[in-house]
Symmetry: C2
Subunit: 347 residues, 2 copies
């Protein structure tokens, strides 16, 4: 199986995050992607290649131009405005209700406040090289997608930073640009065919849902920890089924805590039926391994065998498939869990 | 001069806050109010009394019932949901754009996410006794106001936590309930007369502005660091003048960095002219001493003499006056700066 990887992800090098009222070492760090790379490189099934450069146009087709400009310059601007800070996070958040009756003003003047305008939480530090890494993660997704479009079979894009929490206009949840959404829009818009994003990360991909919520050319299907108890908390409920032309093209399957392999595979099969009914030309998998039973920030109970079964179930669709890396935080097991999923998918 | 004070503020005992991408000792701590109390107690001009209890009704008249319920229970709920945590802060913030096309859902199910629904930033820890302290700060404001209504002359309410950043539906900026807004609404609604809130804190009182923005019975007049460079960043601009019946009753005077006493007093005189034109029965001063030249989080250049001149200028209005404590973070100078302001005001 083809793997697309770039060491450019190392330039996104956060050291800590603010979670649960504490300053913690970040769960999303350079070691995650390196652990995956090392494991796959020891297995002859996987062939590595580097991403090609796709430029900003595919990102601009999905994300607010202001968000892109902000991410390109904000770290440097913050150093000037607030002094040397390796990991920059928002502290004050723009909420429209703050300006009740006053009208919208748009992006604040001060860069310190711009962070809380373009981001929705505190766990996603912007570092010196984040923008370049995020651009390369999109390039990785698009290059993997092109391999599939070119008929080279199921391809894995080792994207880092991940993407599925980033909405059209906001970043967060360890994500900056929505790699899977950029790839899905690219395929749908350049081929005129329908595309499905199947999200098996523990966390609901609120960003992908938001981007495609009113569209009928991209279906979003997600299995995830119920947002009543899990990040991203405010989005990902079963009653969110799409709007307008997109009505029916958004499918959320919230799962109970400690869901095990058999129950997960059952839920996945019902998701795959919805995908077959939609009739996409391609499936883009947002692959999270944080459903693993020892994941430090999640509460499902999937095993390595379960990941291989997931990959096999998706492969049974018989559709061109791109697999893009999202979460997974038990780093000791992460590489092998990815390997097993991809073996299931036909590696 | 009568001073209303309660040691109940000690129950709001935050140790740190997240500001500028760092975990810092909080600038708003118990030592602030104690420094003021100690200084005023050494001066025979000041007579101390305790607040009486006013119950929840005056708060419910100004704040969302859901916010009040949340603040009453959230710290305990968080201990159960997320484990022992003395200082609780939000990490994920509800932004309506996250649910673009999906409709509103209201307060999230999980308490961890409720923090980011009812709060707009990370510098305002909720601690075990915060709710009781915040209730007592409102009682302090209302008791001081009652002294003035009873004809006992200018009265100072040593409120802590402060209040002016809290909006009708959100807390933040070291504030929980908006003490000055509750007092102003109480006077306006029980006497049928007009009231002015004059805010001389360094930071714009976005909460007070939001609460009264569409009302013509409460005027809000603020001098503050320009939000183009200062917290609260998103609100406090000169073009925000009120809406509907409140049109013209909101007056913002943003000030340049390093503004000194003479320029400040000039700006204050123009504010006082607007107050005279409005014709209130009472002036409630939101007193911040963070305009002081050595304040650690602000950038104006007011001196102790300047504070006495401010108090004297307000006294020249000849209106019944309540002075309620807001900010001020150079704790070594804080007590004397309050004392000088109140001496100017006639203590």
């Amino acid at each position: 199986m083809q793997v697309v990887y770039s060491p450019a992800h190392l330039r996104h090098d956060p050291k800590f995050a603010i979670e649960q009222s504490r300053l913690l070492p970040t769960f999303e760090h350079v070691g995650r992607a390196e652990a995956i790379r090392e494991t796959l490189q020891t297995d002859a099934r996987f062939r590595f290649s580097a991403p090609s450069e796709w430029g900003l146009a595919p990102i601009e087709a999905v994300h607010d131009a202001g968000l892109i400009r902000f991410l390109a310059r904000a770290w440097e601007d913050y150093q000037v405005a607030a002094g040397p800070t390796a990991d920059v996070m928002p502290d004050v958040f723009y909420r429209p209700a703050l300006r009740r009756g006053m009208g919208e003003r748009g992006e604040p003047e001060a860069v310190q406040a711009q962070f809380g305008y373009w981001c929705f939480e505190t766990t996603t530090p912007l570092t010196k090289g984040t923008y370049e890494a995020a651009i390369t993660a999109v390039d990785t997704a698009l290059t993997a997608t092109q391999y599939v479009l070119d008929g080279k079979g199921t391809t894995y894009g080792l994207c880092r930073p991940p993407g599925h929490h980033s909405t059209s206009g906001m970043y967060g949840g360890y994500c900056f640009f929505n790699n899977a959404a950029v790839a899905a829009h690219h395929v749908a818009s350049t081929t005129g065919t329908k595309v499905t994003v199947l999200d098996v990360d523990y966390h609901h991909g609120n960003g992908t849902q938001e981007i495609f919520y009113d569209r009928d050319d991209v279906q979003y299907v997600s299995l995830h920890g119920d947002p009543a108890r899990a990040y991203p908390w405010n989005v990902g409920f079963a009653d969110e089924t799409g709007t307008g032309r997109g009505a029916g093209a958004n499918i959320n399957i919230p799962l109970a805590a400690r869901t095990e392999d058999d129950a997960y595979i059952d839920a996945l099969h019902s998701a795959l039926e919805k995908i077959q009914a939609f009739g996409p030309s391609m499936v883009i998998v947002s692959l999270g391994l944080d459903t693993f039973f020892t994941d430090p920030i999640s509460d499902l109970a999937i095993t390595a065998d379960g990941f291989e079964r997931q990959g096999a179930a998706v492969a049974e669709l018989g559709l061109p498939t791109v697999v893009l890396q999202e979460g997974g935080y038990d780093v000791a097991a992460l590489g092998d869990n990815v390997r097993r999923w991809l073996i299931g998918a036909g590696a």
